[in-house]
Symmetry: C2
Subunit: 239 residues, 2 copies
């Protein structure tokens, strides 16, 4: 097999260390209610950089790949170290490797996950904060582009899968489900049409419980656990 | 941002070169007719390794990432160097990074593409050959697993997209289209049902031309070019 030798600044002849380094980053989406607008919004945690490059800017949680750990293990470890979050499952999103995305050459393998608001630890962590995905500041490196790609993938998934399940409690009203879809798609949906499509989807099971409160009682639904999460695929286990 | 320093065998204190190296590999699928069975089959090019590790075994086309080229440029370059193939578009498939997938630590960013048989240069290249994707020998590294994952992704795509378009000539009969689907899915499809679904899909345009030969003349169809290739997404351009 013809393999060219990567050009590096290191003059070792055999098995040269590579000038390219591998990092991992993670995009974690949750749904939360914005207290100012009372609307549901997609949010994600960011970490403020305390060193160059891009000191002071916000960045996705992440860090370097250790030579003795798998990509997903590195993503889980750096996510827990920087944010305290430990989602049960991380899916690989994409490998970002543009030559100029960092002062040094860094290939970042990006993972993503959805978590419910009740899975987020109450205690805040220094230099970590949650941001509305729809109105981010300028982030370090190409992290705005990475979040934009994750949002595009999420919007493409929401139409044909149970993606909202990862963001909702086990039981939810159709209005709550619609608000999740609205926050992902970034637009309002007609309540009557949404209700009809959801009831006909074959994936929701009505319970005999209701959400009561300021409004008319609303029936609670749950997802049919027999419907497989087809998008997980053969590589979904840690390896 | 908390970042741990990757453990390496290199004792440089600042900006240490990483013991992890980045490679690229490419899975190229085409459809060809097996002369023994007269059935269409999925095939892919492999390259025989001429050095350790795994000398003598077949492997996916690929090589090392150069520090000054993008991931997709590296995939295109190493594919052309090893097989002579130059598909117009490569899509990122997945990053494989298990710790034990190679004697040294190698993270491989794998790209894939579909090409039509008429896009393959006639002249063979030394140490390169095409293999039936359904009956591969033991490949080097984890390349059997990589091909298996690519096949799984292809089977998931074929149901809701124009994926077969990348494997067929511009005009084709419904029987040819069905054979492409059969070779991807690995099972026979009922001709009458397939014809009905294809005609009702809204993506095929009948032409006024027919394929003639040993059988009854069969109408030629083409894909509606106005239907966007939705799966390309915002990262489809070289970057």
């Amino acid at each position: 097999m013809t393999q060219t030798t990567a050009a590096t600044a290191t003059p070792l002849a055999s098995a040269p260390p590579d000038a390219t380094r591998v990092a991992v980053s993670t995009v974690i989406f949750t749904i939360r209610r914005d207290p100012r607008t009372d609307r549901m919004e997609l949010a994600l945690p960011l970490v403020r950089r305390t060193r160059d490059p891009h000191e002071g800017l916000w960045a996705l949680p992440g860090g370097w790949l250790d030579v003795a750990e798998s990509l997903e293990a590195a993503a889980s470890r750096t996510l827990a170290e920087t944010t305290g979050l430990e989602p049960s499952y991380l899916e690989q999103l994409y490998a970002f490797g543009a030559v100029d995305r960092s002062p040094a050459r860094v290939v970042s393998i990006v993972y993503w996950a959805l978590i419910r608001a009740d899975e987020i630890p109450d205690a805040g962590i220094e230099n970590t904060a949650w941001f509305d995905a729809a109105s981010l500041p300028r982030l370090a490196f190409d992290h705005n582009e990475i979040v934009g790609y994750a949002l595009w993938r999420l919007r493409n998934k929401v139409g044909y899968s149970r993606i909202a399940h990862g963001l909702l409690a086990d039981e939810f009203t159709l209005a709550e489900l619609r608000e999740v879809y609205e926050s992902i798609l970034g637009r309002r949906l007609d309540p009557a049409n949404f209700r009809r499509q959801a009831e006909n989807s074959g994936t929701l099971i009505p319970t005999d419980r209701f959400r009561t409160g300021a409004h008319r009682p609303a029936r609670l639904y749950r997802y049919d656990q027999d419907v497989e999460l087809a998008e997980r695929g053969p590589l979904s286990t840690r390896h």
